[in-house]
């Protein structure tokens, strides 16, 4: 089995305050990792470390993904003043073959010419998740993907993730809401 | 070393030049400014250091 993300002895300090210490884990292709923990335990920081945006204070983290990492975080990376359609162009998804299918599934078909600022929070989140559903990468990282989603969309997300796992993709996510996904669990509370 | 440039203390104070102008005001005010700026900077840093040392203890 190919390892996609390999972390050894990660420690992180912010302004001399320790967030976590000596975390080691491997994530293989075709498997998922669920990062758990209360508020302020460093879930987002850990995810950003895997992305390579933050650097660990000690230890090393390597990612063997060839393609761009697919990521959605707390910020949606949507342009508020553009319409849904323009945003899809910016994401280079406007010509994707599965676009129509997901637009109907997520009930976004009717709001294509609405500016994002006029969408509800949940709708914006769904639009941001389109980036995940139509991804072209072997490592998918989701930071609290379920915030603001209705149960229908959550199911679509779960189903989608399970499908992706079968395609040997590697998924790392953090979530307070339980998802029906077979995943290894990394609990930051107990460290 | 050269000899004293002024004949009396009062002359040194006014610093009368050959052209008749008194430059004492300028020279002494610059000296005062330099002196006080340095002094204040030293005092400020000493004070701050004292304060933070207390905190650390």
């Amino acid at each position: 089995m190919k390892t996609i993300v390999k972390a050894t002895n990660l420690s992180y300090k912010i302004n001399e305050k320790k967030l976590f210490q000596n975390i080691s884990f491997d994530v293989d292709a075709g498997s998922a990792l669920h990062i758990k923990g209360g508020n302020g335990t460093g879930k987002t920081t850990l995810l950003r470390m895997i992305l390579g945006i933050s650097k660990p204070t000690r230890g090393s983290i390597e990612s063997f993904a060839y393609k761009d990492i697919c990521f959605t975080g707390h910020k949606n990376a949507l342009k508020q003043y553009l319409t849904v359609e323009d945003n899809l162009i910016l994401l280079s998804l406007n010509t994707h073959i599965n676009l129509d299918k997901y637009l109907t599934d997520l009930d976004l078909h009717n709001s294509l010419d609405v500016t994002v600022a006029n969408l509800s929070f949940g709708q914006q989140k769904k639009l941001a998740l389109l980036r995940v559903f139509l991804n072209d990468s072997d490592l998918i990282i989701l930071d609290e993907p379920c915030v603001g989603l209705d149960s229908n969309s959550q199911q679509i997300l779960c189903f989608f993730i399970n499908e992706e796992l079968k395609k040997d993709k590697c998924i790392i996510f953090s979530s307070h809401i339980r998802l029906d996904i077979e995943a290894n669990i990394l609990n930051l509370d107990k460290l | 070393m050269s000899k004293f440039a002024f004949n009396s203390i009062s002359e040194a104070f006014t610093m009368q030049s050959l052209n008749g102008q008194n430059h004492g005001l300028y020279v002494w005010s610059v000296l005062a400014i330099v002196f006080f700026t340095l002094l204040i900077t030293f005092l400020v840093y000493k004070y701050k250091l004292k304060k933070i040392s207390k905190k650390i203890k």
Binding site: A77, D86, I89 | -
Partner: protein
Amino acid sequence: MKIFYFEFLKLRKKSRGWIGPILVFVLIMTAFPLTVEFLNEDLDQAFFSVLWIALMLVMMLATEDIFLEDYNDGSLEQLALKNQSLALILGTKIFIYWMLIGVPISFIGSFYGFGITRSFDLGLNILPILLVTSYIFLNVFSFGNALSLTKGSVLGTLITMPLVLPLLVVLGKVVISINIGLNYFGFLALLLGILSIIIVVIPLIISFIIRAHLE
């Protein structure tokens, strides 16, 4: 090519981002004759000072949220994740800003130069200077705004203004040499030289700064 189009689309649709600065520039250039008596000589003398200062202020205004918006909505994170070079993307962004704001302002500025000094040559002569200078200003102010990304544009202005002051001196010399009919291409070459260094170096520095901000 794709990033080029994307950045263009973003800025074009955000009309206040590029029409705003141009309008402010037009307003300043229209307003300044009102403060002087309507004698042509006076206007001539004040014109260039106002032009350069207005150009600088407007470029400052234009770059105010050049990275802030992308930072706030998370686009910068996504850009940083790509295998593509971040510096290239940022350089393109600045270029698009120049295309949509710097170039029109340069033309308007040279038009005003023609209108106020009544000399066609002069209007034509300052056009290349305006084009190059506006690009330099945009680069330098983008650098300042990247440094003070989350701290407001006042700080960015404060730290980058000293960096562009020498440019104003050069611009003053350019005007004098145009006025007395000297060849000003030496200065143009100098400005182009500065620009060519800045175009390469500033995006690299900005990408370093932005990665540090995201950390």
